[in-house]
């Protein structure tokens, strides 16, 4: 069964977060993604915990491996003219170029779109700088968390009565930027197939996050209202939130969206007297008194085992789910196990490691990574030999000269 992107090659100059996640969405589906890395200025994520057994090393970071499955790695010193020439050669043999450097960096290396598209007119070239290729602030810099702040996500996330707590993650790096970037590349591949044309794709790492906040931004553009944080509240349903369960820091999410959910919830709780109040039979009443109901409900849930409570509520068709921890997702979640979400790959230095499958399955095409993330420069020799046409002697010479470093 052919992988959807078999035959597509990607020259991947990206590093850290959003870029490598973008190209994972290509490599896991058959594209030959070649990471062009520096052995002297190593991708910082290779140096970021967690490490296998807690021992640091460029080939030991799980932060790195999960986002770089099915890729190859060549080390090239782009500070040397010969290194840049080899990079240009790789680009001319590629269908797609991806980078997430600051604006202008690739141009300074002689690897910008204008020059590269002269050598390869049908090239698809995705640039993911923080603020885009145009505009007065195009040279401004940031990381996932500052991007989440600038895009409006941090402000809107958290309890209403506290400072904006945000998600605690570099969310833009993990979802909005890589997913929009990959979709744009796939659309451009279709266009190229039909027209023979390549193109430049300018993705500002702020804008996809703003796009997934569309309705919040429109509360301002359409209604002139600046939306505020609302914790776990729903604008027109209650109770709706996260409630404590028995155990240490255990919680369950319960969403009463309609009257039948309220009935089901009361059944599961054993029809306590407080819940039979007539003022709460309607959604309006529950919404009005949501804080009072939250307190009552919390007292009930706090003695219940979370998974048993979830199963009881689901039997009554009430939307409910345990707040699952990382260890539970890996060890105990029967759904993720049944769908083979976790893929264990044998990494030469780390041994067996757990990797994410993409979150969808095809009925015909495979959709799981099969090779672990590459060691730093693992494929330098084979790429030099097979793609760049260099002799073993020349490869050794370039290694000695620090070009392949």
């Amino acid at each position: 069964m052919a992988l959807p992107l078999a035959g597509i090659r990607v020259a991947d100059f990206s590093w850290i977060g959003a870029g490598p996640f973008t190209t994972k969405l290509l490599s896991d589906f058959g594209a030959d993604v070649i990471r062009i890395e520096s052995g002297t200025r190593v991708d910082p994520v290779r140096l970021t915990p967690p490490f296998k057994d807690g021992v640091a090393g460029v080939n030991r970071s799980g932060y790195f491996t999960d986002r770089n499955t099915n890729k190859r790695s060549i080390t090239l010193n782009l500070k040397t003219e010969e290194g840049r020439a080899l990079a240009r050669n790789l680009v001319t043999q590629s269908d797609v170029v991806v980078n997430n450097f600051s604006v202008g960096t690739m141009d300074k290396l002689g690897l910008g779109y204008d020059e590269m598209s002269k050598l390869k007119p049908d090239l698809i070239y995705l640039s993911m700088s923080m603020q885009g290729a145009t505009g007065p602030d195009k040279e401004f810099i940031g990381f996932g968390l500052t991007i989440a702040a600038l895009a409006g996500l941090q402000y809107l996330t958290g309890p209403a009565d506290r400072m904006p707590v945000g998600t605690g993650t570099n969310f833009p790096d993990h979802i909005p930027n890589p997913c929009h970037g990959a979709f744009a590349v796939l659309a451009a591949l279709r266009h190229r197939r039909r027209s023979g044309q390549g193109q430049f794709i300018d993705l500002a790492q702020t804008e996809p996050t703003m796009a997934v906040l569309g309705p919040a931004i429109m509360e301002y553009t359409v209604n002139g209202t600046v939306p505020e944080r609302s914790g776990n509240d729903h604008p027109d349903a209650a109770p709706h939130g996260v409630y404590p369960c028995a155990g240490d820091d255990r919680w369950i999410a319960i969403c009463v969206m309609k009257d039948v959910h309220w009935d089901g919830l009361r059944d599961v709780l054993g029809r306590p007297a407080w819940a039979d109040e007539a003022r709460w039979t309607s959604g309006e009443g529950r919404l009005r008194d949501r804080r009072e109901i939250d307190a009552r409900l919390s007292a009930e849930t706090s003695t219940r085992e979370p998974y048993e409570l979830m199963r009881a509520l689901q039997e009554k068709h009430v939307p409910a789910g345990v707040l699952q921890r990382g260890d539970e997702l890996v060890l105990h979640d029967p759904q993720l196990a049944a769908r083979d979400h976790w893929v264990r790959l044998d990494h030469p230095e780390m041994g067996t490691t757990i990797n994410n499958s993409p979150p969808f399955r095809f009925s015909r095409s495979p959709s799981s990574p099969t090779r672990p993330a590459p060691l730093l420069g693992e494929h330098t020799t084979e790429i030099c030999r097979d793609l760049l046409g260099l002799s073993p002697e020349k490869i050794e010479l370039l290694k000695d000269q620090g070009v392949l470093a």
Partner: protein
């Protein structure tokens, strides 16, 4: 079927020629929008009277109405709409006739419901052998939780995201804005596009089964690897600096997020200290010394507290905008914690024309909304039409279907 392998004379949109049926749902809506804004013809199928997603708050001017849901307006621009009752034989026949002329069906119905209607993927293949179908459901089509009820909050819980979000001294809190559905829409679009590219080679379609829970799992950063490699279970940590020099600080009229520690950011630390020194920040000398370059010291609470005690008062005296531009002039990664109003007035966002506007005949007014999440140089993103009224395009679409049975077309003309 309409799979174009011949080279057209330079199409101006990347996805022109693709025809997509989207059974209206929150789970599939963003996927359909991504296709529509790059030029695909996306047809929303709604039940008579309109989709339930038309009734989700907030509303234009705070007044409910089928054409007034802000979320619906945003997620459905660029699409056309037909109404078909998929629970009747006529509606099902209409749907089959429509699918027969399409490349892709996107749906988010409860697993099994499309099969009950005779509209499961194998059923549709009978009339459209190269059709692709993408199903977006809370837990996917298979597995012990596949029929569980879900909502955004439940998906964030079951996908593990809530345990790492929020303040440790109280309940975890969710990411804003139904992100589990939007994430699922993104992955549904990617899976669909991959299937389209594969079909263009093989001539054969396939079913794409998207799990919203798994989409949430993709956002877990390094949670799984911390457990797998170091046996540590990551928990929520509130606003504790993630690394020394990486955190949120109140300032005049708001907050800023500074990031000069951890990942690649530690190299910006020195410039931040230089800035504080030049501005004569109180206590800046406490950030001097060799120990600040040592990872072991930087990971201590003492280091985080010291940074906060120096940078905190400095930030508190200044506005977020002043801090933003002053920091960025020095190439220090710092951003304001923007409100929706700040996003819209951001000079960079304005210069790039990110906010776009369409006239809505249903509302008789202009509606401004976030525009292109990417700029494709040859085949630009475009918002070509406002969100449709329910069934607005019944005549032009259903009336033109080659395979539409007579009784179905009668129902259509009666304005189902």
């Amino acid at each position: 079927m309409p799979h174009t392998s011949n080279r057209d004379a330079s199409p101006t949109s990347a996805l022109e020629g693709l025809r997509i049926v989207e059974v209206a749902s929150l789970a599939g809506a963003y996927a359909g929008k991504l296709f529509a804004n790059l030029g695909a013809d996306v047809i929303l199928v709604e039940p008579p009277g309109g989709a339930a997603t038309r009734h989700r708050a907030p509303f234009v001017d705070g007044q409910a109405g089928p054409d007034r849901s802000i979320e619906f307006i945003y997620l459905n621009n660029g699409k056309r709409s037909v109404t078909l009752d998929l629970d009747t034989a006529e509606g099902q026949a209409g749907f089959r006739a429509l699918a027969a002329e399409c490349d892709l069906v996107i749906e988010g119905e409860r697993p099994g419901l499309m099969a009950q209607r005779g509209l499961a993927y194998p059923d549709l293949l009978n009339c459209a052998p190269s059709l692709i179908m993408t199903s977006v459901t809370p837990f996917g089509q298979t597995g012990p939780y596949s029929l569980y009820e879900s909502e955004d909050l439940v998906a964030l819980a079951m996908g593990g995201f809530l345990t790492i979000s929020g303040y440790p001294d109280r309940e975890p809190t969710r990411i804003h804005g139904n992100q589990s559905f939007l994430t699922a829409g993104l992955y549904a679009a990617i899976g669909s596009m991959l299937a389209i590219l594969e079909r263009d080679g093989s001539g054969v379609g396939q079913h794409v089964d998207v799990s919203i829970q798994e989409c949430v799992v993709m956002a877990l950063e390094n949670v799984i690897q911390f457990y797998d490699l170091e046996g540590r279970v990551r928990q929520r940590s509130g606003l504790t600096q993630r690394y020394t020099g990486a955190g949120l600080f109140p300032c005049q009229g708001g907050y800023v997020y500074v990031f000069v520690g951890g990942l690649a950011a530690t190299r910006f630390w020195g410039e931040l200290v230089r800035w504080l020194r030049e501005e004569r920040a109180v206590g800046v000398e406490r950030l001097d010394g060799e120990h600040w370059t040592e990872r072991a010291f930087r990971e201590t609470k003492e280091a985080r507290d010291t940074f906060a005690e120096v940078f905190g008062p400095f930030a508190a005296e200044r506005t977020s905008q002043d801090l933003y531009y002053a920091a960025q002039r020095r190439r220090i990664p710092l951003s304001p914690v923007a409100t929706a109003a700040d996003v819209v007035s951001n000079r960079q966002i304005r210069d790039r024309g990110f906010i776009v506007s369409l006239f809505s005949p249903a509302l008789d007014r202009e509606i401004a909304f976030p525009g292109a999440p990417y700029m494709l140089s040859r085949t630009p993103w475009a918002a070509t039409r406002p969100a449709p009224r329910a069934g607005e395009h019944n005549d032009e679409i259903l009336g033109a279907l080659a395979a539409l049975p007579a009784q179905a077309s009668r129902v259509v003309s009666e304005g189902v």
